[in-house]
Amino acid sequence: MPEVNNFKELERLQSEEFKASTDKVKRNVNNSLASFGLMANVIELYFSRMFEVFVDLTNTSSSKSNTDIDKKDL
């Protein structure tokens, strides 16, 4: 291929010309990333707890019903 490649030069000039746009998009991408990170942390922190609470609740209700049965037996 010849040494001169004005397709690449055009790309380079456009990259420089729109530097402000690429910086603006970077800020938006970073904000989205931060939101994703926050959501992931919330899910990690609370969903595992919610599962534990759910398990505890079901255990409590089943043990309560067992107690009722025990009382009836008496």
Binding site: P2, N6, F7, L10, E11, Q14, S15, N30
Partner: protein, 197 residues
């Protein structure tokens, strides 16, 4: 969590590190500093493609944001079979072509115009295209059909191989070669029409 408290600084990553290694490290550590490097390397190039294809700055910004989110969310799917640059350029082209298709309401754009028949148009020398004055190059690229522009950008700007272009469009190598030949011919015709001097 450690990554959030002690983020790796972009300057800590060696400049010689390959894109593929950076992707692996990003996937392993989830440290955004690795993503920042990829962004620095490719944002200008991707924006240049978006603005070339979509023409409006606002649209190009929105497209680039979506493209980088796609790259981030699909990074784990990058198998390393192709170059990282080829992978992200194909995401870029496909995304922009989708937008143009929706705008023009033309679902056939870039799908059906890969003719495989061997027509008799003469081959245009690569040097002719590569050495066209930049101002004129920009004007002609805006004049030729999007499908021709896309394939010329892939070949001469991104230096993608025929095989890589074929993979992006799911076309045979002979179909891609014919499409490039026609696009070059179209480019020269428009050039000669516009600049008769």
């Amino acid at each position: 969590m450690i990554n959030l408290l002690f983020p790796l600084l972009t300057k800590d990553v060696p400049k010689t590190m390959s894109d593929e290694d950076i992707v692996q490290e990003y996937l392993r550590t989830q440290n955004v500093a690795y993503f920042d490097i990829l962004y620095k390397r490719y944002s200008g190039k991707i924006f240049a493609k978006c603005i070339s294809l979509l023409k409006f700055e606002g649209e190009a910004e929105d497209a680039m944001q979506e493209i980088f989110m796609k790259i981030l969310l699909n990074m784990a799917k990058f198998s390393g079979k192709s170059r990282f640059s080829t992978w992200i350029y194909s995401i870029t082209y496909n995304y922009c072509i989708d937008i143009i298709r929706r705008k023009k309401k033309d679902p056939s754009l870039l799908v059906d115009n890969f003719a495989t028949s061997h027509d008799t148009i003469d081959d245009v020398d690569d040097a002719f295209l590569l050495e066209v004055n930049i101002k004129r190059l920009k004007i002609i690229l805006d004049e030729i059909p999007v499908s021709d522009k896309t394939i010329l950008l892939m070949k001469y700007q991104d230096e993608m191989s025929i095989k890589e272009i074929g993979t992006v469009f799911n076309k045979s190598e002979s179909a891609v070669k014919m499409k490039i030949k026609r696009a070059k011919h179209k480019f020269r015709s428009i050039y000669q029409e516009m600049y008769k001097d």
